[in-house]
C-alpha cells in the first residue's frame, strides 16, 4: 500500500483526478463571464444611452439588448452548474472507487496474514477498520486534488474580478483572509485534540460502566456504591468539560467567520458608495463586486474545511497503512508436494508455548501411506501438534523435512495436499455440496460469466479487485481427476455414503421444494417414484405413517387453508396468511358461508393464546416459536378480541376479520392442539365448504388431487401423495429411510440426493448436529484426496459406526497418510506407528514396522514428567 494518502490517490486515480482538474479549469472562464454580464447589464443596458448596441453580430435595441444579456447570463449559470454537477459526480465516483480499493486491499491483506497474527487479530477490529474507519477516505479522496484547484481557482477568479474593478476594494475584500487562515486552523487544531480526548473519555466511561454493571454484586455487597457513583460523576464532569469547550470553540470559529465576512461589505458600501457618488466607479461595477463577494465566502469556507479534513483523513489512512500496510505481510507461500514423501519433524517447537497446549522438541516421521496414532490428551500438546502438522500452527524452532527440502514453512506450503478435521470443524453457510467442494475451489471459476456481469467486471478492474463471478462453479475438478459437475456429484455421493451422511442428504432432498420450471426432469422422476410408492405402499409400512390426501376427510396434518382449498399455492410465500388477503378468497369464503366460522376459529385461537401468555404475566417471545403468530401480532389480537366478543365477529371491520381468518388458516390440528378444531361438527362444516370452494379460481395454485407434480409441496409429499404424520415422525425406521430403500431398489433415488446436496446447512451449519458437522468436514477432506489426512478426535471411537468410517477412509484414500489424534488406546492395533504426546513432549514413539528406524527413535530429551497424569494409563485387558 502507498505510504501517504496523496500518493495513494495519485497512483490509483491519476486520470480521474486530471479530468476533474480540467473540468475545474473549464469552469473558471464561465464563472468570470457570469460576473461580468451583470455589470454590462447595469452599465450598458439599463443606464446606457447609445442604441442600437452590437451584440455578437446583431444590432439590438435597448430591451432586446437587455433580454439578450439576461439570456446569456441564464446560459452561463446553466453551463456553470452543469460543469459543477459533472465535477461532483466525477469526484464522488473517484472517491467511491478509491474507497472500494482501500477496503478490498485491507481485506485481501487480512486474508494473507500469517495465521499466528490472524489469531491475535480481533474480528471486531477488522470490521471497524473496513466498515467505519476508512469510510471518510472515500468521500474525501475523490476531491483531494480537485478541491484546492477548484475552490482555490474560484476564489482567485472572484478576487481577481474585484481587484480588476477596483484594486483598493479588492484588497479590502481579502485583507482579513490571512487572519482567518492563521487563526481558524489554530482553533480547529485545539478542537481536534479535544475530540480525541472526548473519544478517549467515552471509551473509558464505557469500560467503567460495563465494569460496574458486571461487578454490581460485589459493589452492593461491599457497600461501594457511593464511591462508584463519585467515579462516574467525575468522568461525566470531564466529559461535560470537554464537550463544553468543543462547542465554545466551534461557535468562536463561527463567530469569527461571520464577523469577518460581514465586515467586508461595510467597506464596499462605505468606500465603494463614495467612489460611485464621486463618479470614480460605475454602479454596475459595485453591484458586480457585491455579487462576487457574496460568492467568495463559499470557496473560502471549503478551503478551510479541506485543510482541516486533510489532516484528519490522511492520519486515518496512515493508521490503516500502519496496521495492514505492505511490508509485514508475507506473500502467499510456494506450494509444495507431499505425495509419496516422508514428512520428518526434527526437534520442532510450536509457536504456541508449551504451557498453553503447545509442543516442544518434537521429533517424528510420517511415512507415506502409513496410519499413525498421536495419542494423548487434547490440551497436552496433541491438538496443537495436529494443527502444526496441518500447517495451521507455525513452527518456532526445529526443522521440517519433506523430500529434499528443509524449512519451517514446509507444512504451510503443502496445505493443498493436507486435509485436517477437528472435532469442531468450520462449516460454511451454504449448501452441503459447497461444503464438500470447499477445499477444491480453484483460483478461477469454470465457464463464462453471465452477460450482465460486464459492468461489474469493468468496475472490479478499475479498483484492483478480482473480476471473477463468485456465483459460478469454482470447483477445480481436474485436480482430483474428475471431468465435471456430474462426475463430481457421483464422487460426492460415494463419499457421503462412506461417511454415513447419505441418509441425511436424502432426507434433506425429500424435504425441499423444487422449481419445476427450471428442473422438469426432477418433477418427472418424482412422479415415477410416486407410481412405485403407490404400488408398494403397504409393503413399506407407510399406511400408518402417511396421511393421504383424502378428498372427503379432514386432514389432521394439514392447515385449515389446505383443508378448505384442498391444495397449495405454488409459491410458499403465498401460503396461508397471504391466501387470506386475496379478494377472490374472501368472496369465495363468504359465498361458501364459512367466513364467519373461520373468523370464530381465529378468535378462539387468539383467545387461547392470550390466556396462555396472559397467565404468564409478562411478555414472551416464546410464542413466536409456535409459528402461528408473532409476539407483535398478539397486541393486535388483544385489541380485536374484546371488540369481537362484544359485537360478534360478523360486525368486525374487514381488516380485523381478515386477520382472524388468516390466523385460522394456519392451524394444523396435530401440531397446534389448541382444541379449537376438535368438534366433529366444525370439521364437517369445513369439509362441506371444501366442496363448495372447489371451483374457486386461485392464482398459481395446485390441488392435492392433481395428477402432476405439485410445486408448492416438498418432494416427499409429491411422492407420497400425502403428508407424513406429525406424530409418527420418530418411527423407526423413519419414513425417509423406507423411501430411500424402495426408491433405491428402482434406481430412482439419485435425483433426491442431488437435490439434498444442494440444500443449505444454515448459518455455520446450524441445522447439523455436531457429529454431522464432523462427518461433513470428513467428507470434504476425503473428497479433496489429500496426501496427508489429519483427524483430531474424529472417527476414533471403538464403536461400529467409527470402525466403518475408518474402513471407508482406508478404502477411499488408499495411498494417503492418515494421522489420528486421539485418547483412545484401542486404536493402537490398527496403526503402523504410535506417537504418545504428554505435556507438550513426545513421551514414546512405537512402530510396528522395524523399518521405522529411519524415523527418529524415542526422544532422548523427553524426560519422564513428574505429573502422574502425564503417562498414558495402561489399559487392563478385562476393562
Amino acid at each position: 500500500m502507498e505510504k501517504t494518502l496523496l500518493r495513494f490517490v495519485w497512483v490509483h486515480s491519476r486520470p480521474d483526478q486530471i479530468l476533474i482538474v480540467l473540468a475545474s479549469l473549464v469552469s473558471f472562464p464561465l464563472i468570470l463571464a457570469s460576473l461580468y454580464v451583470p455589470k454590462i447589464i447595469v452599465n450598458d443596458a439599463l443606464r446606457g444611452t447609445e442604441f442600437p448596441q452590437t451584440f455578437l453580430w446583431l444590432r439590438l435595441e435597448q430591451i432586446e439588448f437587455l433580454l439578450a444579456l439576461c439570456g446569456s447570463l441564464l446560459l452561463l449559470i446553466l453551463l456553470n452548474n452543469a460543469v459543477k454537477y459533472y465535477i461532483n459526480i466525477q469526484k464522488g465516483l473517484t472517491g467511491e472507487r478509491l474507497l472500494r480499493r482501500v477496503r478490498f486491499t485491507v481485506f485481501e491483506r487480512v486474508t494473507r496474514m500469517p495465521l499466528s497474527r490472524l489469531r491475535a487479530t480481533s474480528p471486531g477490529e477488522v470490521v471497524q477498520v473496513l466498515a467505519a474507519e476508512v469510510e471518510p477516505i472515500g468521500g474525501f479522496s475523490g476531491a483531494v486534488i480537485a478541491t484546492p484547484v477548484y475552490q482555490g481557482g474560484q476564489l482567485l477568479v472572484y478576487v481577481g474580478f474585484i481587484i480588476a474593478q477596483d484594486p483598493v476594494l479588492g484588497l479590502a475584500a481579502i485583507i482579513l483572509f490571512p487572519v482567518q487562515a492563521y487563526v481558524i486552523p489554530k482553533i480547529q487544531r485545539v478542537v481536534i485534540g479535544l475530540n480525541r480526548s472526548r473519544i478517549r473519555n467515552t471509551r473509558e466511561m464505557t469500560s467503567e460502566i460495563s465494569e460496574t454493571v458486571q461487578g454490581a454484586e460485589a459493589m452492593r455487597l461491599s457497600g461501594a456504591r457511593a464511591w462508584h457513583l463519585a467515579r462516574m460523576s467525575d468522568r461525566l464532569y470531564t466529559n461535560f468539560r470537554i464537550r463544553y469547550r468543543i462547542f465554545v470553540l466551534k461557535f468562536a470559529i463561527k463567530f469569527a467567520n461571520n464577523v469577518i465576512n460581514h465586515i467586508t461589505p461595510f467597506f464596499f458600501y462605505g468606500f465603494g458608495g463614495y467612489l460611485v457618488i464621486e463618479g470614480r466607479m460605475d454602479l454596475g461595477a459595485l453591484v458586480a463586486i457585491l455579487a462576487a463577494y457574496k460568492d467568495i465566502a463559499a470557496p473560502w469556507r471549503e478551503l478551510l474545511t479541506y485543510y482541516q479534513s486533510y489532516s484528519d483523513i490522511s492520519t486515518r489512512y496512515e493508521a490503516v497503512v500502519e496496521s495492514y500496510g505492505a511490508d509485514r505481510i508475507a506473500d502467499l507461500p510456494q506450494p509444495l508436494t507431499l505425495r509419496g514423501e516422508t514428512i520428518v519433524l526434527e526437534r520442532v517447537t510450536s509457536d504456541v508455548p508449551r504451557d498453553s497446549g503447545g509442543v516442544e522438541g518434537v521429533s517424528l516421521a510420517l511415512r507415506p501411506g502409513s496410519r499413525v496414532l498421536i495419542a494423548g490428551a487434547e490440551d497436552g500438546g496433541r491438538a496443537i501438534l495436529m494443527r502444526l502438522l496441518a500447517g495451521a500452527v507455525d513452527v518456532a524452532a526445529g526443522e521440517v523435512r519433506v523430500g529434499g527440502e528443509t524449512g519451517r514453512d514446509l507444512l504451510t506450503r503443502g496445505s493443498a495436499e493436507i486435509a485436517f478435521v477437528s472435532r469442531t470443524p468450520h462449516i460454511l453457510t451454504g449448501t452441503i455440496r459447497e461444503n464438500v467442494a470447499y477445499s477444491l475451489l480453484g483460483t478461477e471459476p469454470n465457464g463464462a460469466p453471465p452477460p450482465d456481469h460486464a459492468a461489474r467486471e469493468r468496475e472490479a478492474r478499475i479498483t484492483g479487485a478480482p473480476p471473477e463471478d463468485p456465483h459460478l462453479d469454482w470447483v477445480d475438478y481436474p485436480r482430483i481427476g474428475i471431468e465435471g459437475p456430474e462426475a463430481f456429484d457421483h464422487r460426492v455421493i460415494e463419499v457421503m455414503e462412506a461417511v454415513g451422511l447419505l441418509r441425511e442428504v436424502f432426507a434433506r432432498g425429500l424435504s425441499t421444494r423444487i422449481d419445476t420450471a427450471a428442473n422438469p426432469e426432477i418433477a418427472r422422476a418424482a412422479l415415477d417414484a410416486r407410481a412405485v410408492v403407490r404400488e408398494e405402499r403397504a409393503a413399506m409400512g407407510l399406511d400408518d405413517m402417511v396421511e393421504h390426501w383424502a378428498p372427503d376427510g379432514y386432514l389432521e396434518n394439514a392447515s385449515v387453508a389446505e383443508n378448505l382449498f384442498f391444495g397449495v399455492p405454488d409459491k410458499p410465500l403465498a401460503r396461508n396468511p397471504g391466501l387470506a388477503g386475496l379478494p377472490q378468497v374472501r368472496r369465495a369464503l363468504a359465498q361458501a358461508g364459512i367466513e364467519m366460522e373461520l373468523a370464530e376459529i381465529g378468535l378462539e385461537t387468539a383467545e387461547t393464546l392470550q390466556d396462555l401468555l396472559g397467565a404468564l404475566g409478562r411478555d414472551t417471545t416464546l410464542i413466536d416459536q409456535l409459528g402461528l403468530v408473532q409476539q407483535a401480532e398478539m397486541e393486535e389480537f388483544a385489541r380485536i378480541i374484546p371488540i369481537a366478543r362484544r359485537r360478534g365477529v360478523r360486525r368486525l371491520g374487514r381488516a380485523d376479520r381478515e386477520r382472524l381468518v388468516a390466523l385460522a388458516f394456519q392451524l394444523v390440528p396435530l401440531r397446534h392442539r389448541l382444541g379449537v378444531l376438535d368438534a366433529p361438527e366444525r370439521r364437517a362444516r369445513l369439509i362441506a365448504a371444501r366442496a363448495r370452494l372447489a371451483g374457486t379460481a386461485l392464482p398459481a395454485f395446485t390441488r392435492f388431487d392433481s395428477d402432476g407434480y405439485i410445486p408448492g409441496l416438498p418432494v416427499i409429499e409429491n411422492i407420497l401423495q400425502g403428508r407424513p404424520r406429525l406424530d409418527r415422525r420418530d418411527a423407526i425406521p423413519p419414513i425417509e429411510a423406507r423411501l430411500e430403500e424402495a426408491m433405491r431398489a428402482h434406481d430412482l433415488h439419485d435425483f433426491v440426493i442431488a437435490a439434498g446436496l444442494r440444500t443449505d446447512v444454515g448459518l455455520s451449519g446450524s441445522t447439523l448436529s455436531p457429529s454431522q458437522k464432523r462427518r461433513l468436514a470428513l467428507a470434504r477432506a476425503i473428497t479433496a484426496s489429500p496426501a496427508l489426512l489429519l483427524l483430531d478426535g474424529v472417527a476414533d471411537e471403538t464403536g461400529e459406526a467409527h470402525v466403518t468410517l475408518r474402513t471407508a477412509i482406508a478404502r477411499l484414500l488408499p495411498e494417503a497418510t492418515v494421522v489420528f489424534g486421539s485418547m483412545n488406546e484401542a486404536l493402537v492395533p490398527e496403526m503402523d506407528d504410535v506417537i504418545r504426546i504428554a505435556n507438550g513432549r513426545v513421551a514414546e514413539t512405537a512402530g510396528s514396522d522395524p523399518d521405522a528406524s529411519a524415523s527418529p527413535g524415542p526422544d532422548t530429551e523427553a524426560s519422564p514428567d513428574p505429573e502422574p497424569d502425564a503417562a498414558p494409563e495402561p489399559r487392563s485387558a478385562t476393562a
Binding site: L612, L613, L670, H672, R673, D727, D730, A731
Partner: protein
Amino acid sequence: MTLSRESEILGRSPLFRGVDPAQLRLLALMAENRTFHRGEALMVQGEDGNAALVILSGEAEVLLRVDGIETQVARIGPTEIVGEMALLSDARRSATVRALETVQVLRLDRATLLRLLREFPGMSLELLRVMAGRLERTTQELARARADLAARTAAG
C-alpha cells in the same frame, strides 16, 4: 388429547411437579405429539438424542444392551419421562425404550426446553433439584454396587 389434559399429565411427572400450571400449559403447547405402536422403539441405546419424552398413555419397556444382550430393566407408563439427559447435554441414549402397546408421548426438544428455562428461571431450579436428587440416588447405587463387587471378588 387436549392441551389441558396433556399439561395435567406433565404436571404429575416428577421432573415438572413443582412447575406453575400456566407454564406447564405453555410447555405442553411447545412440545410435539408422537405415537408409537407395539414393538416400536421410542429411542435406541447409543444414538444421539436431543429430546425427552413424557409418556401420556400406554406402557413401554426400558432395555439395556450389554455385550449384545438386551435385558429389560424397567417398565414405564404415563407421567414418566425418558431421555431427559438429552435436554441438558449431548449425551447418547443410555438405553432403548420399546412400546409394549400403543404409546402416546409428548416430545420436548432441547432447544425449546432451554428457551423455557431461560424465560422461567424458577423452572430451572426445579429441574436442578430433581436432577440433583437423581445424581444422589445414582451415586448411592454405584457405591452399593462397588461394595457388592468388592465383597464378591473377595469371596471368589
